[in-house]
Amino acid sequence: MPKSQAVFGSWRQGGFHSAVTLLRGQALPSLATAATACFALVANVLVLLLAHGLHDTPITSAAFLPTATTMPLSQSRAGQQMPCSSKVCRNLFGPVDHNQLQNDFQNLLRQQLEEAQDRWNFNFETDTPLEGRFEWERVFVDQQLHSLSKANSSESRSCSLAHKVPSKDHLGQASSEMPQQDSEACTASSPQRLKRRQTTVKDFYNSKRRIVPDKPKL
């Protein structure tokens, strides 16, 4: 460790630890002010360090925080051991009621689901469409499409995926064509459509290859 850092390190540690012990012994409101005081201390340390010409050393602002000096500067995030003894590990507002937390979570989640249900007129829990401004239609998706899109878990759900179809005022033609195809036609025709697409790509490739040897003859 460079000499200057060692000197600063020990000084910083001393300063901060006493500030933290001070933090711990206080009642809640003053704890907040003491905590900000620690922050100011950090800014102070930062300025001091910089004033001493250390700003050339490649250390992040984190290194200015005194607690960080307990870890080697070069230690990487990935392999870092959990600093369980660290002063930063603390419970701010007393014990957490886990049942209450769970209830609040369920309430908020239900609220969100209801909002989403109103917005899309779709019940996302039961996968069923509801009355509203969107028209929902069941779309049957075949296995080949799934294997192409590399969906890993979708095979079990094939032919049951429901997709949103835009309402008529957005895409009148598209939505009026779709109902004409029954489920059988849908599953039967889509692989063909896929094959045709692939062959057109090949055709293009072949024609290109044909053109290239032609050129020298001309």
Binding site: A34, L65, T67, D104, F105
Partner: protein
């Protein structure tokens, strides 16, 4: 010893992209959309019943310490505070759930900004295991929903480079100014008074405070007092008086924090503090603000 010297920072960083930094359209767009990411209201008055301003400060200080100890990117902390404020502006929250919320916000901000993000387990340990990783993950979903999955919020950091490059600053001081400005931004994020300010104003005020604090106006007249404020105001289209007020507010927050430190030091065991008081009494740059 040699081992230490050979070790390099494992984080590979991209170079600053001139296409992003030297194009005024980017700055213009940032200024246009920044208002979208402000909290909807001053929530202590109208939404929260259980949570007081000093509790926000407590959780903010804790979050800053976690970010510093985990060596997070500079933007992670202000971004997490943005999530926290936006969530609290719409959801009445219990005091005892505030730390969990802070952890969730750091979790999200870290995932958005960092190569190696903070893990849920780590964050839970930092709450002294008062919450479980499973709870953190559940609440992540709730917070995301309330923020409408709109996570790429504008922070003051987004403006720093755009402002700095338009100022006639000495090259050797640039790193120092940036560092100070970043510290001021973090300071602002811990203080609720700044929560409703547009990020561009906080960034401009922080750069202004950094330059004034470092007293760089010796040779360059455009970097002193009012002319600096006018120059800064022009860059981010801020009102001169608002900017002046913001910068003064930042400086006074810093001064009051420094004063608190001194008081705390004098009240607590002074024997241990002798060393530090000696160090602290040496004239430093930021102290010069306290004129």
């Amino acid at each position: 010893m040699e081992l230490l010297c050979c070790e390099v920072d494992p984080m590979r960083r991209a170079l600053p992209d001139p296409n992003l930094l030297y194009d005024d359209r980017v700055l213009h767009n940032l200024l246009t959309i920044e208002e979208r990411y402000l909290p909807q209201c001053s929530y202590f008055k109208c939404v929260q019943k259980d949570i007081q301003p000093f509790m926000r400060r407590m959780v903010a200080t804790w979050m800053l310490e976690v970010c510093e100890e985990q060596k997070c990117e500079e933007e992670v902390f202000p971004l997490a505070m943005n999530y926290l404020d936006r969530f609290l502006a719409v959801v009445p929250t219990r005091k005892c759930h505030l730390q969990l919320l802070g952890a969730v916000c750091m979790f999200l901000a870290s995932k958005l900004k960092e190569t190696i993000p903070l893990t849920a387990e780590k964050l839970c340990i930092y709450t002294d295991n008062s919450i479980k990783p499973q709870e953190l993950l559940e609440w992540e979903l709730v917070v995301l929903g309330r923020l409408k999955w709109n996570l790429a919020a504008i922070t003051p950091h987004d403006f720093i480079e755009h402002i700095l490059r338009k100022l006639p600053l000495p090259k050797d001081k640039l790193l120092l100014i940036r560092k100070h400005a970043q510290t001021f931004i973090a300071l602002c994020a811990t203080d609720f008074n700044f929560a409703m300010y547009p990020p561009s104003m906080i960034a401009t005020g922080s750069v202004g405070a950094a330059i004034c604090g470092l007293q760089l106006d010796d040779g360059e007249s455009s970097l002193s007092g009012d002319s600096l404020t006018e120059l800064l105001a022009k860059i981010t289209n801020t009102d001169v008086d608002c900017l002046k007020a913001c910068q003064e507010q930042i400086e006074s927050v810093l001064v009051s924090n420094l004063r608190q430190v001194r008081q705390q030091q004098q009240q607590s065991n002074p024997s241990k503090m002798v060393d530090e008081l000696d160090q602290a009494s040496t004239p430093t740059d930021v102290r010069d603000i306290n004129l």
